[in-house]
Amino acid sequence: MDKFKVLEDEATADIAFVAYGKSLEELYENAGIGIFSLITKIEDVDQIQVDLITIEAEDREALMLDFLNELVYRWDTEKILFSDFSCSIDESDGSLRLSAECRGEIFDEDKHKIKASIKAVTYFGMKIVEEDGIWKSKITPDV
């Protein structure tokens, strides 16, 4: 199973990909990896710093959107690149709670090549589904 796959024709002006996961948690982890793979060569990002991000939202799509937008925000303001995630999800009382341990390092001009500037993640085409034991979701960032 790929972690994610870039789509060529999904959005005329922007970039889109599909994230996959054997579990819902892994889907969110791989979506995070997809985002940072668009931003940089993710293999070059060492896991030096660990940040804990928690998100609460009303449904799975909103949780995905808020999580990825939080990652974009951290990158834009703290210049941190993440390359590995461990997520856990708590679904109860009609609300979803995501706890993500995000591992990465601060951007270093000599070490990291920046490929794209992602400024927001949109709802465009996003629908989280499970098919034959694989979770997937389309992700469309705005660049």
């Binding site: 870039v6 959005a11 005329t12 920046i114 500037s117 469309t140």
Partner: protein, 477 residues
């Protein structure tokens, strides 16, 4: 998808059906329409027609292509009481827009120094992905920027009073209230004033090429071969954060509204609600942020032209500045009389006709200058707003040439270095870029033909061609 009927030359109508409140309208030639049909633009036009309080038509401009919720090149006027305001209908890069700055120089006086000029501009104006600004503002300073707009820039020495007279809204949306902007947006904005960014944003050195209307060109103070500078950028991460924040807030607050919409990203704050008022104030902050951004970049460019070509600061005069992604409270004639509406222009340019009171006095006789940039090899067009725009498009014209190919596909098809070399060899255009993959994404072959877009505008009478600007040099982020 509903069939389109050609109701007049270059005017296509999509019949009202199902939950649509008004018919759809597409302004396009047959050729452009075929391109528009390649993605989901028409479906999105239909979806927008479902919004309550929408007046006359859900409109697609000739450069329309698929966006999120609304298409890019989409125009929708929603009644301020019976309708509402949609953050997605404004877009993420709020007040992305362009400015055209005149110089007194002829192309021959610049050509020999063009490379040096591009290098100095590139040095002075941060561009490219992940590049922050040389200005670092405190939160209080940023709040001043957000509420005062370009006036802040002038007070702080980044321009002259006269600059304000020839920008849409005089460079300031007066309803802006920084209290309605999130901490997150403030954190993103305070390091991003005065930088170009990446993607389709650019600085372009252009010269006046073919003149369609000598008389109006003269009114705009332009003659053949005269060198100009075009600046295209927006509100950077700040505007994106404002859009994201309010999309989510309205979605959470108006769950019942969202359920009835064909697409979540159309979510709107109902007219007269506190949310509509708050979003308008926050959006106005982002509009002002972008006005300041372009003003500061123009200041840096004036310094660069001074250094390399010996121009005095005020030798470079702002011809005009327009917004591309914005919602404005305006009064328009609708099917049942005059109404106050939120005109959503998403990837579209205001194009007010002669005698409109919002057109700067200097141009009131001839109409608002309308700036339509094309892709890297194509240059830009200068047009003027015409009367028909009020009848057909709520005073709106197209904003660019519009993509025909996704960024990912363009990167697979084109090679940045080859694109830049071809532009140099075939058209004598110099490209200076922070990133060659961005040049590939922005390759001329990934866009519609600008001439087609401009011809439709001229033909249907929303904006009339004045002159063409040919590219000499480009800086891409």
């Amino acid at each position: 998808m509903s069939e389109l009927e050609e109701v007049d030359e270059n005017i296509w109508e999509m019949k009202k059906e199902g939950g649509m409140n008004v018919p759809g309208r597409v302004y396009a030639s047959k050729k452009l329409l075929e391109q528009i049909k390649q993605d989901r633009t028409l479906e999105q036009i239909k979806n927008v027609a479902h919004l309550p309080g929408i007046q006359k038509h859900s409109i697609a401009m000739p450069d329309a292509h698929q966006g999120y919720g609304f298409p890019i090149g989409g125009v929708a006027a929603l009644d301020t009481e019976e309708g509402g305001i949609s953050p997605g209908g404004v877009g993420y890069d709020i007040n992305c827009g362009v400015r055209l700055v005149k110089t007194p120089l002829k192309a021959s006086e610049v050509r020999g120094k063009l490379k040096e000029l591009l290098n100095v501009l590139f040095q002075k104006i941060p561009s490219g992905v992940g590049k922050g600004s040389r200005f670092s503002l405190s939160k209080n300073e940023l709040k001043e920027v957000l509420e005062e707009g370009a006036e802040w820039a002038i007070e702080n020495g980044y321009g002259v009073e006269k600059d304000l007279k020839t920008v849409e809204e005089n460079g300031r949306m007066s309803g802006a209230d920084a209290g309605e902007v999130s901490e997150k947006a403030l954190n993103r904005g305070k390091e991003q004033v005065g930088c170009l960014g990446a993607g389709n944003h650019f600085l372009e050195i252009e010269k006046v090429g073919n003149i369609d209307n000598e008389e109006i060109a003269k009114e705009f103070g332009l003659q053949e071969d005269q060198v100009c500078l075009m600046i295209h950028t927006g509100s950077r991460g700040f505007g994106h954060q404002v859009c994201t924040d309010y999309l989510r807030e309205t979605e959470k607050k108006y769950k019942n509204v969202v359920r009835k919409l064909p697409d979540k990203e159309l979510v709107y704050a109902p007219g007269g609600s506190k949310m509509a008022d708050r979003y308008f104030k926050a959006m106005s902050c982002a509009v002002n942020f972008a006005f300041v951004n372009r003003q500061v970049i123009m200041h840096q460019a004036r310094e660069a032209f001074g250094e390399v070509l010996g121009l005095d600061y005020e030798d470079m005069e702002l011809l005009y500045g327009v917004c591309h992604n914005v919602a404005k409270k305006e009064t328009h004639k609708t099917n049942d009389g005059r109404r106050k509406v939120y005109v959503h222009r998403k990837g579209a340019t205001r194009a007010f006709p002669p005698d409109h009171k919002k057109v700067p006095k200097k141009y009131r006789k001839v109409g608002q200058p309308v700036l339509i940039p094309g892709n890297m090899g194509e240059g830009s067009y200068l047009l003027r707003g015409k009367e028909k725009s009020m009848e057909l498009s709520f005073g709106t014209a197209p904003h660019g040439s519009g993509r025909t190919m996704s960024r990912t596909k363009a990167k697979g098809k084109f090679w940045g270095e080859t694109v830049a070399r071809d532009l140099k060899e075939k058209k004598d255009i110099l490209v200076k870029a922070a990133s060659m993959p961005v040049v590939a994404e922005e390759a001329p072959g990934a866009y519609k033909n600008l001439r087609d877009v401009v011809d439709v505008s001229d033909d249907i009478g929303v904006a009339e061609k004045v002159l063409k600007l040919d590219t000499m040099g480009v800086i891409k982020g």
